[in-house]
Symmetry: C2
DNA sequence: CGTCACTTTGAGGCTAGTCAACGGCGGTGG
DNA sequence: CCACCGCCGTTGACTAGCCTCAAAGTGACG
């Protein structure tokens, strides 16, 4: 399902200067950094759900992956075989930032929908960083932002708080300002990520719908009362625009 | 209580070359990077529990802080005035890494015991990074490690799992291999950090003691069965040495 | 020796997980 | 074309782990 077209399209060598993805590491510094970054990347790799994982936890970090299309989840599997989703990565996101420090992959990565990633070999990347401080700063910034998000979400919140924060965050990250939130992620994965049973995810969404905060449509969700959701999600503190009670700039 | 002596001692200008703290940003690159880092730092700042916070969430990031002695907690306060502890920072840790990306402090910081921090103005630090790629890489590594830890801890774990992981991690970070774990952090803060009520913290510790996994002594805790704790903490996956069932290297 | 903060202990309640069963939907194959 | 199957989402009943509330015990300090 979803958009298999983006997989077959543009199988050629990456050119970051014409890449549709914003926020990519190579986009930010508009100077020669982008060219240097672009030179790192080999042919984009397609990743399909159900297929072999893109990378597996425990292996040495060989490359960072920049999501070009689709949605990738990272996860760990404990001794009982229980899967724990650590994060969802959307176009423009970098996968593997949590492994730079140790050099060992902390989590596996697999596609949630048909996806495409660009590959940045870590050793070559480190060489480029030596000569391109702007890129280095951008890498620190990206890692720092992901850290801030992880710390915010690691708090103790109710199912409704987590769910509201997740919906608002996904809408923002997907640039779904038009109104329709295409959620291609199975509820089981969402629940696993939010530390909720999939039944709880379902019930919480239904409760939101009953209150008129969102509508469930054929192709996704439509958030109809962001203020209410923001009020609920406020304690999470993900910096998702100001809640209704915060009138100051 | 703890060690107020370290506060009064060495009020003079920092010299990272003789600093007792390992793992500090300036320690790792043994070359000129250390000197450059050292030049950044002004007089170490004492921070006392109960006094004004070191920094407050929402303000622009002006400096990173390297803990020199004691223990600093970072936390947020939501609309209901509820405090949420995000992390504990021990000597050698850097405070503020989660604010680099946005430039806005994501959390407040206050002392848990009498402490001392070194101040690294962020703008000057950024200048130094331009000319010292080794330091830049070390900054990325530190941020990445903290991210990996935050992601590991953000999972859904039982009170015992979280508590065991916390104890082992603190022992490791405090270099308390001699056996005695000096926990100067109030149980309320520990519980807030681990998303547990302080009563649950107390009960869990007691249960561990009853099983012979640790002993409570006057000055702290003594872990007497690390293997058992590691078995319990394994699903958290903090990379705290191998659990007993993992015999492979 | 009283105060205050923190820890300990007990009783009860609530959120969310677990278990079980059903419904919808898209495949696949006869 | 339709029956079959598997995956996912939905719904209900029950359970369990942890929180809340309350109160007593402990230790540091003035």
């Amino acid at each position: 399902m979803s958009r298999p077209d983006v997989i077959t399209a543009s199988r050629a060598r990456v050119d970051c200067l014409v890449c549709p993805v914003q926020n990519c590491l190579g986009r930010c510094p508009s100077d020669d950094g982008a060219a240097a970054w672009s030179a790192l990347l080999a042919t984009p790799v397609p990743v399909m759900p159900g297929a072999a994982p893109l990378v597996s936890a425990g292996n040495p970090l060989q490359s960072l992956y920049s999501v070009r299309a689709g949605c990738i989840k990272t996860y760990t599997v404990d001794a009982e075989g229980q899967e724990r989703v650590r994060g969802f990565y959307l176009p423009g996101d970098l996968i593997g930032l949590d492994a730079i420090g140790s050099g060992i992959l902390q989590s596996s990565a697999a596609a949630v929908e048909p996806s495409q990633v660009c590959v940045a070999p870590i050793e070559e990347l480190r060489q480029v960083l030596h000569t391109h401080p702007r890129l280095a700063r951008h890498l620190v910034d990206q890692t720092s932002r992901e850290l801030a998000m992880a710390l915010a979400l690691s708090g103790d919140f109710s199912a409704e708080q987590r769910m509201a924060a997740f919906l608002l965050q996904m809408e923002q990250r997907l640039h779904a300002r038009d109104g329709l939130l295409r959620l291609s992620i199975p509820q089981r994965d969402i629940g696993n990520y939010l530390r909720l049973a999939n039944e709880t995810v379902c019930r919480t969404l239904k409760r939101f719908a009953q209150r008129g905060w969102l509508r469930s449509e054929t192709r996704g969700l439509r958030l109809t009362d962001r203020c209410a959701l923001q009020d609920v999600a406020e304690p999470v503190g993900l910096g998702l625009s100001a809640p209704s009670w915060a009138l100051a700039a």
